[in-house]
């Protein structure tokens, strides 16, 4: 079964949880939600600037984004586990707000997909939340966040995220939605997170395949987020498409003469 984006039962359940008052307060948004459900995720993004201009202005751009390089990723899941550890104090793939999806029988590069939150310009999660639990944190660089105290667990934001898989993440332990906050609230980490601070996934990724940037990536498709973070050292591994520029044999075993002579290191006594 899918995460529920298109499943009627989940949607019905979500609606059932609303009180009449919820509908009165948020009815307009819910109508918009239903309209978007009918579209495919990619089409939804293209079409979603449907929100009226005054709504767009209500969402100032995030001052931080995660971009990534899915060809550089080795699928170790360290980023996911760092995310769950710093936020919850446990190691869990299901609770991680960045998802790495892979099939080791697959063919490079489609064998693996990286799925962090995009901190969208027009965030459908914020826009659709019937109780404003999902909000733009203007005090903290406009990060799109979810206040779990306010969240009623209706899963609307899961269904409304136009990405596949949805970047809003269901926390089955507390039965609330969560999402990437760029590590603003990481009670299990000694570092300051959020914009101007550090992000657990960025810091722990051994491949440096995730990067924090301040400039908003191109919103239309994934290319703005899935970028090339490889430099000449990566190319020397001879792994990716443009590997032919590597001199033949450069990653061979025992064949090439040593390129430089080692200085004897100073081992401490």
């Amino acid at each position: 079964m899918s995460g529920g984006k298109k499943t009627d039962s989940t949607e019905t359940a979500a609606k059932k949880k609303f009180t009449r008052r919820d509908f009165l307060v948020t009815g307009g948004t819910v109508v918009a939600v239903d309209a978007l459900i009918a579209t495919t995720p990619a089409a939804a993004v293209a079409a979603s600037p449907a929100p009226p201009p005054e709504k767009v202005q209500a969402y100032p751009a995030s001052k931080g984004y995660l971009v990534y390089d899915s060809k550089k990723c080795i699928g170790c899941t360290t980023c996911m586990l760092s995310c769950s550890l710093t936020h919850y104090g446990v190691q869990s793939l299901s609770l991680a707000r960045i998802q790495i999806i892979q099939d080791s029988f697959g063919k490079f590069p489609t064998d693996l997909e990286m799925a962090p939150c995009r901190q969208c310009k027009y965030p459908p999660c914020v826009q659709s939340c019937p109780v404003q639990a999902c909000f733009v944190d203007e005090a903290n660089g406009n990060v799109r966040r979810i206040d779990t105290d306010k969240c009623i667990g209706c899963k609307t934001c899961l269904k409304m995220c136009p990405q596949q898989p949805h970047r809003t993440v269901w926390n089955h332990e507390i039965k609330k939605s969560t999402k990437c906050d760029l590590c603003l609230e990481t009670p299990y980490w000694n570092e300051k997170g959020g914009i101007g601070g550090k992000q657990a996934c960025v810091e722990s990724c051994p491949m440096k395949a995730i990067k924090f940037v301040s400039e908003m990536p191109d919103q239309k498709e994934t290319d703005g987020y899935n970028v090339n973070l490889r430099n000449e050292h990566w190319l020397k591994l001879g792994l990716v498409d443009d590997s032919r520029i590597v001199p033949p044999g450069s990653r061979s075993m025992g064949g090439g003469a040593p390129k430089a002579k080692m200085q004897a290191p100073k081992a401490k006594a």
Binding site: K5, L93, L95, S104, Y188, S250, P258, M262
Partner: protein
């Protein structure tokens, strides 16, 4: 319950189809993985030994560690234990392990391990999703599949609506984007081949002991885990700090230290850089690929190719299945033979032949020995058209040759298949040639039916460590990669004296001994008390950190590294720092090494119950009688540290025996038998083991 554990071990009886749990708490003193596995084995069937590996009483134990499912670097392996049908002359209580994400999913599903006992009367597989455990019928298409198809089919059946790239909703409103982690035997295992391996993913395999054959004997095709839970961490902040501290020991992919020396060339296998494991994807014909990692590994030594062939394969497999000769050598930087098959084709066919071996569920290291023996017997005229074993193989090195070889062995086809599926040792025995061929070195089954890996007369920690165990030691990172391969590169980054000094510093609690890695023949060399300590360290590290901790033998220990300024590695600081953060325990590296000593002692007690005696812990004659090929290692020669090969030396029987006497005493074992004394066992808190040994007349 300390952090890192889920608290329960799954117990499945395939005879009665009964599913129950064992509380992990009962075994926490053994750490995890191999330690808990040995203790469970002893408790459940120790007093019934000896019996055969294919007896339904044999167990398959797959234990995770407190690190499994966490981001502890290089801890993604799954330890498999049980009586190993591949091992010889007795099917020792053996261990084998594989990488990937199996133990991670096991932990997320809420289990610290699985113990399978009994045998089903018809083929089944075990499907675990969180706390839901099902013994599923495998006759409906899964039995008979190769290891790849079986894994993918079981994944589909386990989560029917699973679509890659989407969240799947499991029971209890839990979601995951991950696919089930399945380990399966292939057609070889189904036919109880002693060469039968367990495959997880396309290339991760547990192969040395023949556990694929044990799966087959139990009518068990596969085990699948998928979980949405979490692993508790005692001190999350300390664990995160430790993980970020550890970055200094990793290869910096964007800015490697001393790149001009360590990038590529002789260092590509050992520098810690991504990929490097698959030797058929190199040279000018390389196929675009991803470096691919096991769960939590910061290196990613494997590859996934754009062609999808030989995904996650490593060097040994592609060496065994070498088609045309040119492929591997191109990757190794050697000039291909101009008359050979074009390199690109050779590489492609080698990769595909390797995949075929994996699909059949054959273990490459054992196939290598068996295939080599078959070739030798062809040369001797024993195998061939109209010969004693009437069988004609296609031309050596062709794809057809490998296809025929793998199919014949896996499906037990004809007289050759029936013999070879028993493994090289039993094949030789059945032909009445075991003694002759092994003694002469024609068949180099150096350690209990497993083949020689590195030269036993020079890399002695590997040789001694193997004969004191139950199979090939297979631990490259102890001294082989960092020392042998560093020197072999032709440009060692530490001279022999510096290397020996840093090694000694790391090898706590023997850090005061400067000669732990002296491989010379002098007073501090291969027969010395320093070597006693080195081998004890290797066995204790093997049992606790590698075995109980689920560490990868290609990543740990790390006594030296090219990735730090002073070349010091993460050992012995990283291991207890991580372990204590996860579990909340507060012990030292030396404390945990003593636990490794305890686990080693328990394993040896189990072997004693199976019939192990001191006189079995010897090398075949050729190791003592023939001049060694040598293997470059640090040595003290004429009072000075140097790198030398030791070529031409012979191991001295009497000196090895004297060394063994000192080793047994050092470990608290009776030197006459090599088995632990009651005093040693009781000091370690294993009175019950002493009682069982005594009852059976086996106490040391």
């Amino acid at each position: 319950m300390p952090g890192g554990y889920t608290g329960k071990i799954l117990r499945v009886n395939l005879t009665t189809k009964q599913v129950s749990t064992i509380p992990t708490e009962k075994y926490v003193e053994f750490g995890g993985g191999h330690g808990i596995g040995s203790a469970v084995f002893f408790d459940l069937v120790g007093d019934q030994l000896p019996f055969d590996a294919f007896d339904p009483r044999n167990l398959i134990i797959m234990m995770a560690s407190p690190f499994s499912g966490t981001f502890m670097p290089g801890s993604g392996r799954c330890e498999v234990q049980g009586l190993g049908p591949m091992l010889y002359p007795i099917e020792w209580f053996g261990h084998s392990n594989f990488g990937g994400r199996f133990t991670a999913q096991m932990k997320f599903a809420g289990w610290d391990g699985i113990v399978v006992e009994g045998a089903s009367d018809s083929p089944v597989y075990i499907d675990v999703i969180n706390d839901q455990v099902k013994i599923e019928d495998a006759t409906n298409g899964v039995w008979g599949m190769d290891t790849w198809d079986a894994q993918q089919e079981i994944s589909r059946r386990a989560v029917p609506g699973l679509k890659q790239g989407e969240w799947a909703e499991l029971a209890q409103n839990c979601f995951t984007t991950q696919i089930p982690a399945v380990v399966a035997c292939g057609p070889a295992g189904e036919r109880k081949s002693r060469l039968g391996a367990l495959l997880h993913g396309p290339g991760s395999q547990a192969a040395l002991c023949g556990f694929g054959g044990v799966f087959g004997s139990k009518n068990l095709k596969a085990i699948s885990f998928l979980g949405t839970g979490s692993v508790p961490i005692a001190d999350p902040k300390a664990f995160m700090d430790a993980r970020l501290w550890f970055r200094q020991f990793q290869w910096d992919v964007d800015n490697p230290r001393d790149a001009e020396i360590f990038e590529g060339g002789g260092y590509s296998l050992i520098n810690g850089a991504p990929s490097g494991g698959n030797v058929t994807n190199g040279g000018p014909n390389r196929v675009p690929a991803r470096a691919a990692a096991c769960a939590s590994c910061p290196r990613g030594c494997k590859m996934r190719l754009a062609t999808g062939d030989s995904n996650e394969a490593v060097c040994a497999g592609t060496m065994v299945a070498n088609v045309g000769g040119g492929g591997m050598f191109a990757a190794f930087g050697r000039k291909p033979d101009p008359n050979a098959m074009p390199t690109a084709l050779s590489q492609k066919l080698t990769r595909q032949a390797n995949d075929l071996m994996h699909r059949y569920g054959l273990g490459h290291w054992q196939v290598m020995a068996t295939r080599g023996y078959i070739e030798a017997l062809v040369r001797e005229g024993v195998i061939g058209k109209g010969k004693q074993i009437d069988f004609e193989l296609p031309p050596a090195g062709s794809f057809a040759y490998h296809e025929t070889m793998f199919r014949t062995i896996a499906l037990r086809e004809g007289p050759l298949g029936a013999l070879a599926a028993e493994g090289a040792a039993r094949m030789a025995e059945k032909l009445g040639r075991y003694q002759k061929d092994v003694s002469s070195g024609m068949l180099r089954l150096t350690y209990y039916g497993t083949q020689e890996h590195y030269d036993s007369a020079t890399q002695v920690e590997w040789g001694y460590g193997s004969i004191l165990g139950e199979r090939d030691l297979m631990l490259h990172q102890m001294a082989n990669y960092p020392l042998h391969w560093m020197a072999q590169s032709g440009n060692p980054y530490l001279d022999a004296e510096q290397a020996s000094k840093l090694y000694a510093e790391a090898m706590v609690p023997y850090e005061d001994d400067r000669y732990l890695v002296d491989y010379g023949e002098g007073p501090t060399g291969i027969y010395s008390d320093s070597k006693v300590k080195q081998v004890a360290w290797v066995k204790h590290y093997e049992k606790f950190w590698i075995g109980a901790g689920g560490f990868c033998g290609w990543r740990w220990p790390q006594c030296i590294t090219n990735n730090t300024a002073d070349r010091r590695g993460a050992t012995p600081h990283a291991e207890p720092r991580f372990w204590n953060a996860v579990t909340g325990q507060n012990k030292t590296f030396a404390d945990y090494m003593e636990l490794g000593h305890k686990i080693f002692t328990l394993d040896r007690a189990i072997w004693a119950l199976q019939g192990r005696t001191r006189d079995m812990e010897v090398f075949p004659d050729y190791v003592y009688d023939q001049e060694s090929r040598g293997s470059v290692q640090p040595m003290v020669v004429d009072g000075k540290w140097t790198y030398a090969t030791g070529q031409g030396r012979k191991l001295d029987r009497a000196k090895v025996e004297d060394w063994k006497t000192r080793f047994y005493k050092f470990e608290g074992y009776n030197p006459a038998t090599g088995i632990a004394t009651r005093e040693t066992l009781e000091k370690m808190g294993m009175k019950k083991v002493a009682d069982t040994l005594e009852k059976r007349g086996k106490l040391g």
